[in-house]
């Protein structure tokens, strides 16, 4: 018996236990069972789509890109928060799946959580570049310069897809409903660490609050579950360090990135442009 065949998925059917909840009928959330035929390469999202298309069209869940980019299909799969489109059923090594909506967020219907507080928290940390040169921001003459090393200091945090999985896993979000959550706090660091940004003072005011950054216990569950491999726990710790440096006055004031100087003469392309392309024929 080869190593591959030893781990071969032997089930032909998958039993889905899906949490159902409709606020209009007044019933408490309950589990409904569906049996779905298994096909190789099937994801949990494929299974849910099969249920919706062939068994029960009233099942509600979010989905869009089907390739782990949009963050819409985040849900609790066998008690682990993950993207349904990114979870191969075969990798779970079982034919019994329990699918529930993300915890720590209110439920709108079935597997659809209410993300409005999540996005409000994200918005509260001003997730955009803030500059004092408003004229340049509104009518840019060129891009701001940024060295690769400066970009590396926050690059991984730019990959956040805002799926809400980190908030679902966070023990502080579970106990404190007003906690900003790991996503917003990590994004606060992402923008404060950006060498092009000058808005750290404004953002500090939104995270140095009663239910802000200091309520993070550094359980690092957010880093464990992030489907994009980000480390929000690290970002929060770095943000805390930045706040303490600011409080004791040891924070070095850096000059924000300058606008790139345009060359005096228009540059010529180094690679010669083919005749047919240049002439458009």
């Amino acid at each position: 018996m080869t190593e591959e065949s030893k781990h071969e998925f032997k089930f032909t059917e998958i039993k889905f236990k899906v949490q159902r909840y409709n606020p209009e009928n007044g019933k408490a959330p309950h589990l409904q069972e569906f049996t779905v035929p298994f096909t190789k390469g099937m994801t949990v999202l494929d299974g849910l789509l099969h249920i919706k298309e062939n068994m029960d069209s009233t099942l509600a869940f979010r989905t869009s890109c089907r390739m782990g980019i949009c963050g819409s299909c985040a849900m609790l799969i066998n008690d682990y928060p993950h993207l349904a489109c990114h979870t191969q059923i075969e990798e779970l090594h079982t034919d019994k799946l329990t699918v529930k909506p993300l915890p720590n967020l209110p439920i709108i219907k079935d597997l659809v959580p209410d993300m409005s507080t999540f996005f409000a928290n994200h918005k509260s940390i001003k997730p955009y570049i803030i500059r004092s040169d408003r004229q340049e921001m509104e009518q840019p003459t060129a891009e701001y310069t940024q060295a690769p090393k400066e970009l590396d200091s926050f690059l991984q945090f730019t990959y956040c897809i805002k799926c809400g999985i980190c908030v679902a896993a966070c023990p502080t979000s579970a106990s404190d409903s007003e906690f900003l959550g790991p996503q917003a706090l990590a994004q606060c660091y992402r923008y404060c660490a950006d060498s092009r940004d000058e808005g750290a003072e404004e953002r500090v005011a939104s995270v140095d609050t009663k239910h802000g950054i200091w309520h993070c216990h550094f359980a690092a569950a957010c880093s464990e579950v992030c489907p994009k491999g980000l480390d929000p726990g690290l970002a929060i710790q770095l943000m805390k360090r930045s706040l303490v440096s600011r409080a004791i006055g040891s924070k070095k004031k850096k000059q924000p990135a300058q606008v790139a100087k345009l060359p005096a003469e228009p540059t010529k392309p180094k690679v010669p442009v083919p005749e047919f392309t240049a002439k458009g024929k």
């Binding site: 007003e178 140095d208 009663k210 004791i248």
Partner: protein, 119 residues
């Protein structure tokens, strides 16, 4: 920056407690270990040793400092836990009020003992 300052003091008091509690532990509870290394400090927990220590200003200072740091560290930590579980402005006022009151009572009682022994 109020919350950062509160947390920074929490961090500093934690370090100071480790130092002062370390002094307390070594000089009063690790006499057998010190004896193993050839350092004889007598019987630190005997009545006469305790009275003798209590009459020294440095020990009164260490105990009062340890008391202040421990009270802040413990009660601020407790306040954070309670406020995390009951997030409301009213709960915050009530919890902060109770914790400050109990902390001040403990502080007065705790300071009284070493000062009385000192005089």
């Amino acid at each position: 920056m109020r919350n950062t300052y509160l947390q920074l003091v929490q961090l500093i008091t934690g370090i100071l407690i480790a130092v002062l509690l370390g002094i307390h532990m070594v000089t009063q509870h690790l006499d057998a270990v010190l004896g193993f290394f050839g350092i004889d400090i007598g019987h630190p927990t005997s009545w006469s040793s305790m009275i003798e220590r209590s009459r020294q200003g440095i020990w009164a200072f260490i105990y009062i400092a340890l008391l202040i740091f421990t009270l802040y560290h413990a009660f601020n930590g407790l306040r954070n836990i309670v406020l995390e579980l009951t997030p409301s402005a009213r709960a915050e006022r009530v919890v902060t009020g109770i914790i400050i009151f109990v902390g001040v009572v403990f502080l007065i009682l705790g300071i009284y003992a070493p000062l009385a022994l000192l005089s």
